[in-house]
């Protein structure tokens, strides 16, 4: 078990390394190919009207003239060991993991990421609870009532759910529910959970529902397909032949097997979402990682973009790792040689 975890960890770290290389290459190499040079990059650190001296000074301080490989090595070193930055008055240590400093506000990227994580996590967690609950139960119901009106209605709704752009549903629901009828608070209302749990939930209901609508639809469809598959398996017949009540057959035997593959997808979805539910956060102006990233991209704030991307990759890798471990637990076959 330990070796397995270690192996997965090493693979995860390797994956992260590759991701970081690709991301780094894209953000530092592609602009150069496109004509930007060390000066323009340095200028991004400088304010509205950069003087050439300021640009040169920044370039010097951030070693932007070094070869890209050296810069990448520095970046990785910063991630692992932290880096020292000259803040002017004294040398400040940007401790690991150091993603550098934002071009925009000169702040360390990492604490800002950590700062925004709770918003995204709240959004993702709440939505996940809703979509898993709703999606799975609707999917199961639909599968069991296959071909009936309930099934058809559920699946049409689900298809509608996956066909609606999330920003559209978000906007319409904001326009109607928040602004027109004022049932829900307007966009951008986020209260930290610990400040006031009720406000927290109230402020997030609409984003939760919007996000959950899309995902619930996807999960309902997946669950339904999975249930239809497993309910046709021989072992379900065996369970029935044992005289088990139908409820046990469906939940203990059918659902358990049908849900197993969904775990993987859920892990990946959640991992990606923790890196920022970009559209939802943009639509509802939630100050989470996704919005942070979008703003950063608009402002060409490379260190932040790099940070969020890496952060997301980290979540995906960790989520995958957890899913793998969970899989060992839920599906004994994984332990067998294939």
């Amino acid at each position: 078990m330990i070796t397995y975890i270690l192996r997965r960890l090493v693979a995860g770290v390797g994956l992260l390394l590759v991701v970081s290389m690709v991301v780094f290459a894209i953000f530092f190499l592609v602009p150069r190919v496109a004509g930007a040079d060390a000066d323009t990059l340095a200028a991004r650190y400088v304010g509205k009207s950069p003087s050439p001296e300021a640009v040169a000074a920044v370039k010097e301080r951030l070693n932007l003239d070094d070869p890209i490989a050296v810069q990448y090595a520095e970046f990785v070193k910063g991630l692992v060991m932290g880096t020292d930055y000259d803040s002017g008055t004294d040398v400040i240590h940007c401790s690991a993991p150091c993603f550098g400093y934002s071009f925009n506000n000169n702040l360390e990227v990492w604490p800002q990421l950590v700062d925004r994580l709770p918003v995204t996590a709240s959004l993702a967690a709440g939505a996940a609870v809703i979509w898993l609950g709703a999606g799975v139960s609707i999917g199961v119901l639909s599968a069991l009532r296959r071909g009936t009106l309930i099934d058809r209605a559920a699946m049409v709704t689900a298809l509608a759910g996956v066909s609606l752009p999330i920003f559209f549903t978000g906007l319409v629901s904001l326009a109607l529910l928040s602004y027109q009828w004022q049932i829900f608070p307007p966009g951008g209302s986020y209260t930290p959970l610990l400040d006031n749990p009720l406000e927290w939930a109230y402020g997030l209901i609409l984003p939760w529902l919007t996000l959950a609508f899309l995902y619930a639809a996807m999960y309902a469809r997946m669950t339904r397909a999975g249930m239809l598959d497993t309910m046709g398996e021989d072992y379900i017949r065996t369970a029935r032949a044992k005289g088990l009540p139908e409820r046990t057959v469906v939940t203990k035997h059918g659902l358990r097997a049908a849900l197993t593959p969904i775990i993987t997808i859920f892990g990946l979805d959640l991992g990606l979402m923790l890196g920022g539910a970009v559209l939802t956060e943009s639509t509802f102006s939630l100050p989470g990682l996704g919005k942070f990233a979008v703003d950063a991209i608009r402002a060409n704030d490379l260190p932040v973009v790099l940070g969020v991307t890496m952060f997301t990759a980290l979540f995906v890798v960790v989520a995958n790792l957890l899913v793998d471990l969970l899989y060992v637990w839920v599906d004994p076959r994984v332990r067998a040689p294939s």
Partner: protein
Amino acid sequence: MTNASPAPTPPVTPPPVVSVRDLRITFPTLEGPLTAVDGLSFELSPGGALGIVGESGSGKSAASLALMGLHRATNATVTGDITVAGVDVSRADDATVRAMRGNDIAMVFQDPMSALHPQYTIGNQIVEAYRTHRRSASAAQARQRAIDVLDRVGIPHPATRINAYPHEFSGGMKQRVLIAMGLVCEPKVLLADEPTTALDVTVQAQILDLLEDLRTDTGMALILVSHDLGVVAGSTEDIIVMREGCEVESGDVRQVLKSPEHPYTRDLLDAVPRLDLSRQERLARLRTERSRARESGTGSAHVTPAPHPSPRGPVDAEPLVRVENLRRRFRVRGGLFGRASHFYAVDGVSLQVHRGESLGIVGESGSGKSTLSRMITRLLPPTDGRIIFDGHDITHSSERALRPLRRDMQIIFQNPYSSLNPRRTVGDIVGAGLRVQGNRDSRAVKRQVKELLERVGLEPDHYDRFPHAFSGGQRQRIAIARALILNPKLVICDEPVSALDVSTQEQVLRLLAELQDDLDLTLIFVAHDLAVVRQVSDRVVVMRQGRVVESGDGDAVYDTPEHPYTRQLLAAVPVLDPEEAHERRVERQRLREAVGDEGVAS
């Protein structure tokens, strides 16, 4: 009732434990309603044993499921009366039927591989069955009970194995687990739907023996469903022969087998491969049939009745295939966390095949037969040893160097469903060999393919059809045609008939024999069914765990087997005569004790 009192009519007739009257099952399909079972009636007295036989699709399973009330809430329409242990299955409410399932009547399913839930331990699944019907039982009691039944069905170390997951068990063990699960509530009837179809002969024999033992010990009644008359013959008292959903014949086993009344029953009986028939006898019979047919002008057209040369080619001549000390290693991952380990699937096999000869290779599942065949055709590179084909050492030849040689060696696979590409037409499939080998003249290819299709008993205008439109037997003919189109010197048949019905099997074997006769083919015939192998091979090689344990002249191996394993294999073959079946059972018991209980783990 015990097997000591085989009298058909006991003095006092107790009420039947299962009674079925005029059962009719209809499924709605795209092509309209399909009546799978059509007016079936039978009764089973307590402790009795009933066999239901019929070819695939004859409605056996559909009828079995109806007994369990498992068609409820599906789109099947079931009419007629079914009474099981006093429960009127067709009219009782769901709760009553549920209380009956597993408790009064338990079912063992066809495919043990998929009938167990892969995510729960076998203990969990057995305990669940028990506690559903014995609500007062404590967890500990239920667990003890599960251990007991596992022990009863012959699972070694049941107290520890109870925590195993299904995938950690072999097929035979899984089938035992399923039987244990059926037994756990001491049902009055055990319904076994083809419990051995997916298993090896030896394992099959063990399972059948187990069922027989259980019946004697516990006094429960048994319904045994199978397409193999041999399986039913030795284990039941009464028999029903079904065809296309209808009963064609029924009665006492001995009676029906000895003097079948219905022609269909007779056909079924004839098709069962006979272990006691030697190759010479069979060949002779075949030739006379063919010449008779030719005289009456109905046989296949262009057959040269060249008198067959001595079945064994000249011993001194260079053999077509020589295999020396061939080994093949595979890596197995040792579970999820363990290190990978190696094992030899084929471990030092040497053999020779002479021109015009047919060599049979037998052995149970996993003994390395397919691995060996694939190495001989170099579809798989060997780890060690040498392969000499037609004078060329091909052990390490490159794929490019092999290409011209591929014309001369062909292989026919076990599963006619997966060996034909479902997205290519029959013409494409059969003609592929010519095209791959560089024949660009599509007109000529087409003509040749059509000729060959006719030769293997298919219509030439099947050329443009896709494989899914053919039955299993027909598909195997297509596969044979594909193998023959390049006029190969050697054809390896890797269990070409084991996926087929007995009757289809017979047709395909007959075709192969004819072709060998006519085209002077050299055959390697791989099978796990000894009877099949005997009928087509001049020499036989018996394999076990990657090694050859015995080899020699076909008849010699069958008549005077030397190795105990060969004897065990022979003893496991089901026979049609119930008396003989009984004798063999005793013999098996003795052999098992001699060889040890290794069979269980296979």
